[in-house]
Subunit: 156 residues, 2 copies
DNA sequence: TTATATTCTGTATGAATATACAATACTATA
DNA sequence: TATAGTATTGTATATTCATACAGAATATAA
């Protein structure tokens, strides 16, 4: 049953893109999006998504995703750089080699530095190749996992 | 009547220093601190303080102060730079001139850049003077207002 | 001071959100 | 397939939070 999973991402999008004051409002939007559920289910969804309710600094409260899910705009553009540039990632021991489109190595490496992934000790960029040195104790899997989290829609 | 004022700061401290799940819990702590009020009053206090309720990332929710009240440490130090450096601010059309203590122009300008006030298009710093260029559509008043918000205890 | 306005609060209640429970749907395994 | 276990959901209800209203306290103006 993928129903809930799909619904969760729709809820997430709705919260990200709308000012939503309460669950009834969200229920309507969700219904328009083709998911008709009860308030109880929605309440559970929100808890699952760790959605919070915060002040608008003026007179009311609205739902907001947890910080982890709120990627800053500048961060987004770096993520775009990575998305646009990366062709492949391969590993050898605690080294990784990222192949990029020609001329993109620098922007990708800069982006990786800015994103400050905990697995990466440092990067060295040429024209279409980046050397990545993993931190002690970090594995290829750790880094790829981190990638999946921070840079949706990229796979090693 | 200073009662409410005092109570508000106590509430703030309690929220900052404890994990508080609901208003009843907070009522108790507040009572221990010598302020006995009803849930209704507390609810109003919380709204006034713009307190939010956010996920602990695990199984529950707790109260949290708004981000404005939780200025990051690094940001604080930039704010200190501004506080320490600025002597005066004057405007002419969409330009502002900030006079600083000698040698402080650079650190203040850097701080302003980091703080990323939406009214400022760019800055240019000498030794004791900073040119500030306002963004199209932004006024002197907008910037000063923004200052008051982000940098408490500074006036133009 | 007196009159008037404003702020603050509690009571009572309404609105919003969470959950116990039971039913159903799905998954995994033999 | 049959069975057992897990996940998802709605109903009904409990819990939590917000607010209309009225009265008391405080401030403001004359």
């Amino acid at each position: 049953m993928k129903e809930r999973h799909n619904r969760l991402s729709v809820v997430k999008e709705l919260i990200k893109n709308n000012r939503i004051d309460n669950q009834d409002m969200l229920l309507e939007l969700l219904s328009e999006a083709g998911y008709t559920v009860t308030q109880a289910t929605l309440s559970r969804d929100l808890k699952m998504l760790k959605v919070g309710k915060i002040s608008d600094g003026w007179s009311g409260y609205y739902y907001a995703l947890p910080e982890n899910d709120l990627i800053s705009e500048s961060e987004k553009s770096y993520i775009q750089d990575v998305r646009r540039g990366v062709l492949s990632i391969e590993f050898s021991q605690n080294f990784g080699v990222i192949k990029t489109r020609s001329g993109h190595a620098n922007s990708v490496a800069l982006a990786l530095d800015v994103l400050a992934l905990p697995e990466i000790l440092g990067t060295l960029a040429g024209d279409d190749t980046i050397f990545v040195i993993l931190r002690e104790g970090m594995s290829k899997e750790d880094l790829l996992e981190s990638f999946k989290l921070r840079i949706p829609e990229i796979e090693g």
